[in-house]
Symmetry: C2
Subunit: 121 residues, 2 copies
DNA sequence: TATTTTCATCGTAAAATTACGATGAACGAT
DNA sequence: ATCGTTCATCGTAATTTTACGATGAAAATA
């Protein structure tokens, strides 16, 4: 059973038992959270929000990381759907992906509502 | 320069240059996001939200993971401040940590506002 | 006291993440 | 056509994460 098959199975049943794995929303939110699980990637999102869009070189210049490393972080953000990249001559213009941001907002809002104002034992 | 020194340095300056690292809020949000970066830990938070509190054994029973693995996930959630654990005889009662949840809500809300409604290049 | 239950920790293996230099491809400029 | 710039990718090393069986500590129970 590969990842796709497992995901599909989970989606079809919409239940979670001992032998099942996790729900689609849990999987997706964890993916998006993983994209935020490094300060450099958060810094990148903030830069793109401030400047609305940004060529790759500017991002590299502002981060304390090598160009190859920043490129790797950008790739992760793009793969998970939080940013987009558009080739502009020899440069690449990155910007926020509204759809991915909205998806993250929704999934987090859902979890946030569940965990709001709970009292401990 | 160890982690504490680096964090203190970053906090003192509150600026980010090529030779500096990341801002405290970026570091902290990435830590909290990392705690959400696994579907099992999200499932745990949801369980604790539903039942308000939960003994460790119930969590283990509902997750498709071994007891040792679940205990490790619980430890990570506790270390980052999202849950608390209280010893109750031979069992341990886990519950959400309101402070940690609130901190995550605040940090995410801040980032969310920045990235809201941006248009791509 | 001996036994059972509950859970954390240890040890360890496999996989993923992080980081960087080196290389190469694509493009504009000379 | 050649050169410099820009950026992705490759290869690789170090670290971290994930997972589980085995073990041990603590408490209730027999």
């Amino acid at each position: 059973m590969n990842d796709l098959e497992r995901k599909t199975f989970t989606q079809n049943t919409m239940t979670r038992t001992k032998n099942d794995l996790f729900l689609p929303d849990e999987m997706r939110l964890s993916e998006l959270a993983k994209a935020l699980a490094h300060p450099a990637r958060i810094a990148i999102l903030k830069m793109l929000a401030e400047k609305n869009s940004c060529i790759c070189g500017e991002i590299v210049d502002e981060l304390p990381l090598a160009q190859a490393t920043v490129s790797q972080h950008l790739k992760e953000l793009k793969n998970v759907g939080l940013i987009k990249g558009e080739i502009d001559g020899p440069k690449v213009c990155y910007c926020l992906n509204t759809d991915g941001i909205a998806e993250l907002r929704g999934l987090w809002a859902n979890l946030e509502q569940r965990v709001a104002a709970k009292i401990c034992c």
